[in-house]
Amino acid sequence: MSGYSPHTPADVAAMLAAIGVDSIDDLFRQVPARLRERAAQDRSPGMTEPELRAHLEGLASRNTAAGATSFLGAGAYAHWVPTVVDQILLRSEFATAYTPYQPEVSQGTLQAIFEFQTFSAMLLGLDVANASMYDGASAAAEAVLMARRLLPGRRTVLVARSLHPQYRETLATYTRGLDGIDIREVPFAADGRIDLTALRAGLGADTLCVVLGYPNVFGVIDDVPGAAALAREAGALTITATSEPLALALVRSPGSCGADIAVAEGQSLGLPIAYGGPGVGLLATREQHLRSMPGRIVGETVDGQGRRGFVLTLATREQHIRRERATSNICTNQGLCALAVTVYLSLLGRNGLRRLAEVNRRGACGALARLEARGVARVLGGPFFNEFVVRVPDAGARFELGAGRGVVPGFPLERWYPELPDTLLVCVTETHGEAEIERLTDLLSEARRQPRSMQG
């Protein structure tokens, strides 16, 4: 028996006697016999721990891409994670607790969330933040639902086409069942930033909000101040979504740019890529919108003796009290991932974050300069942080071929944007040294020279 239960036959017998039944089967007498018979088919054996280890190590070893030199970003970012972060995540006291319903014995989780909310609000340049959402994409969708609560009469959502496509798709799913929400795309200009002329034309008295990536999916630092000013004139809200929040150590915060609600994906701040999850969604807003926020919120208070402590608060917004009138159906946060972000931001701190962001920006600028020197041209050339788009013939084939050789040179954007054939989205972080950049430039400048026939 490979289970994790400590019961001996004597335990079971004594417990059955205390209950007053003859067998465990008797405890299931409410379940119709035919259901029990059908469910009894699978009695396959389990594994021992060494067998399990060998099995999973075998599966992990087949993920050869995990060992490749990779310039993939596009919503999931490779950064070095200080060892202390994982050491804290392994603490069972954090990992195996649940939502802090009993605050007297959950102060560790609660204070850590309070610190997370502080980091979220400061990083996004807004007043208040919640205890976290599932990920950046669902946080963006929840932000739109929140905007709808703030401006109930309005129905048109203007979404930048340069917002990460998976965020756009998630937004579409979340709003599908709601009456009359009309999602319209706003195109991007030649520099990869939002087309302000088109935005102006699209805005009207029915516009609920404008949603844009910051940086956007092309790595371009979008014109949030310009977009937010237009939105404000039309009485609409501005929502930004950041999938690489390290950029915010260097570039102007969304709140300072005029965003009313800002969300971010926190994976890049202390979490492994882990095939795209779990990450954590950050969501912050202005003080006056506080009670329309979705999700859990932790607040500071005192106990009977005046000692500082923290509790879940403003719960009257939530599903367990308001049921179908709740601000969201979410009933947890992404606790342990929010903790990772909190530990990471504490360790790097004010000085480390700024320096790390500089290293990223410098690395990306350096890599781009080298590519350009070898004749590889950038497109969508607005200001960027650590990710940019270059023109590469046969980008899709080059991607597969490079990966086979142990260098994943970036993401072929045509898969998401048919209008951008022969382009690669390249991400450079502190994990890339001289040698890696050299391999990238070799691979991509070679691509420029090779005829199409060398595919695959």
Binding site: D42, V302, Q334
Partner: protein, 487 residues
């Protein structure tokens, strides 16, 4: 003793750094134009050292009760042991460093794992297809109800209403409302159960689905589930099952056999992934084949020898998050499922039910038991017998903390006044259950003899009862830098 610890923002010294950043990259980058630069140079962010940070969070960790450090009988949350080996496995570089956009050919191990987990969930539920994408049970519910809606839209009419029993968890109505449905609450009977007759009274062609939890939130198996499903299907409706309580029925009853069309699994409950103080979880959705075409994209499909992601699903409801789900959680759940096998999962459910019934049998002479229908994996009691002493459920919960146990779920389900919902799970030993039972019995005794002791509990925790009204009336939701002294 527990050591004090300020906020991380209240520690440190200007110029300090907790982690040396590597110096890399060539030469100075072209500076960003001033209008794009960060406005505050991250003022307020901590400037602390590595040991300070480690110590800070270690101290905080010691302020928590957790499933690893104590029995955590939180009803409907299935706080079972989270196997430590799974923490090592998920950290294998082949899983931890895999980028979601890497070519599938170089990620076959991950895709095989996901396919096997999908198959395993199909087997244990008797459903035909599973999507692993949702990040939590509530997101699974939202997705499941979007699938319900897509099915009805495809048949010409989205329908208007969703039936939800009065014993349901609050997420059920919230999820239905997010999909644009009005909620009709269905009463449960004197046994605590849903009846086909009660459903028949409210069922008509405006009803899109019934959302049912089985076993329900009272820990009772819905005996009439097949007949209930037949009534719903008879009017063209679908049956959605909230799988939160699946830990009671693995190898005992399968959703597909009960007549369920769509359900969500809570892998952080049934399949033992750590709850993380609130998450991350995973809430995969399983469906009968007639709904498979609506599952989110991308779908995992086999093409020759290889597994690949396919977006070729024109009727799909779309996606509910980025990439493929909480992969790290899915790896742990797969490891758990594989370690136990079908036989071990069935044994886990049998022992979970044994443990809950043992607690019930020993506590019901003292604590009020609202329904005498046999319990499965959790039992619901109430504070009725303690009220004469002005001791209430909240007091019992707080006093349990003094005895070194986390509290049960309290005041839920709403159909039981002063509910105490106790779910021990299968991983607690008989001795631990006895200690818990003894604590509960002693608290009942204290309620009679020294009620103030119970009403003022907890006494041994780091902080006493906290002022929640103050927290809500004057919200302080973040630290702020101290105001500069006036010039």
């Amino acid at each position: 003793m527990l050591l004090d610890e300020p906020l991380i923002f209240e520690r440190g010294s200007a110029g300090r750094m907790g982690w040396a950043v590597p110096e890399r990259g060539e030469g100075p980058a072209e500076a960003l134009p001033p209008e794009l630069r960060r406005e505050d140079d991250l003022a307020g962010f901590p400037e602390v050292g590595e040991l300070e940070v480690l110590r800070h969070f270690l101290r905080l960790s010691q302020w928590n009760y957790s499933a690893a450090t104590t029995m955590y009988p939180l009803g409907s949350c299935t706080m079972k042991y989270n196997p430590v080996v799974n923490e090592a496995l998920v950290r294998l570089p082949g899983f931890a460093h895999l980028h979601p956009l890497a070519p599938e050919a170089l990620a076959q191990g991950a895709l095989e794992l996901l396919a096997a987990l999908e198959a395993g969930l199909c087997a244990v539920s008797g459903l035909d297809a599973v999507c692993l994408q949702p990040a939590a049970g509530a997101q699974g519910e939202l997705l499941g109800m979007q699938i319900v809606r897509a099915h009805h839209v495809a048949h010409g009419n989205a329908r208007r209403r969703v039936l939800i029993p009065s014993s349901a968890h609050g997420t059920n109505p919230a999820s239905a409302a997010l999909c644009g449905y009005a909620v009709t609450e269905v009463p449960i009977d004197a046994r605590g159960l849903l009846t086909a007759e009660a459903i028949a009274r409210v069922m008509d062609e405006s009803v899109a689905a019934l959302m049912v939890t089985n076993p329900n939130t009272l820990g009772l198996f819905e005996e009439e589930i097949e007949a209930v499903a037949a009534v719903v299907h008879g009017k063209g409706g679908l049956v959605y099952m909230d799988g939160a309580n699946m830990n009671a029925i693995m190898g005992v009853a399968r959703a597909g056999d009960m007549g369920v069309d769509v359900m969500q699994f809570n892998l952080h409950k049934t399949f033992s992934t750590p709850h993380g103080g609130g998450g991350p979880g995973a809430g995969p959705v399983g469906v009968r084949s007639l709904l498979a075409e609506y599952l989110p994209i991308p779908r995992l499909v086999r093409r020759g020898q290889e597994l690949v992601w396919s977006e070729d699903a024109p009727k799909s409801v779309g996606r509910v998050r980025s990439f493929y789900g909480n992969f790290g959680v899915l790896v742990r759940a797969y490891a758990y499922m594989t370690r136990l096998g079908g036989a071990g999962l069935a044994e886990a459910s049998r022992l979970a039910v044994l443990n809950a019934n043992y607690i019930r049998a020993r506590l019901e002479p003292v604590y009020h038991r609202p329904y005498d229908t046999p319990s499965l994996h959790e039992c619901v009691l109430s504070d009725r017998h303690l009220q004469a002493h002005d001791v209430h459920t909240l007091d019992v919960a707080k006093r349990l903390l003094d005895y070194g146990f986390y509290a049960p779920t309290i005041y839920f389900p709403l159909v039981v006044k002063g509910a105490l919902m106790i779910e021990p799970t299968e991983t607690e030993s008989r001795e631990t259950l006895d200690e818990f039972i003894d604590a509960m019995l002693r608290i009942a005794e204290e309620a009679r003899t020294t009620p103030a002791l119970v009403r003022d509990a907890p006494h041994k925790t780091r902080v006493a009862r906290l002022d929640e009204t103050r927290a809500a009336r004057r919200p302080v939701l973040r630290w702020r830098p101290p105001a500069k002294p006036a010039d």
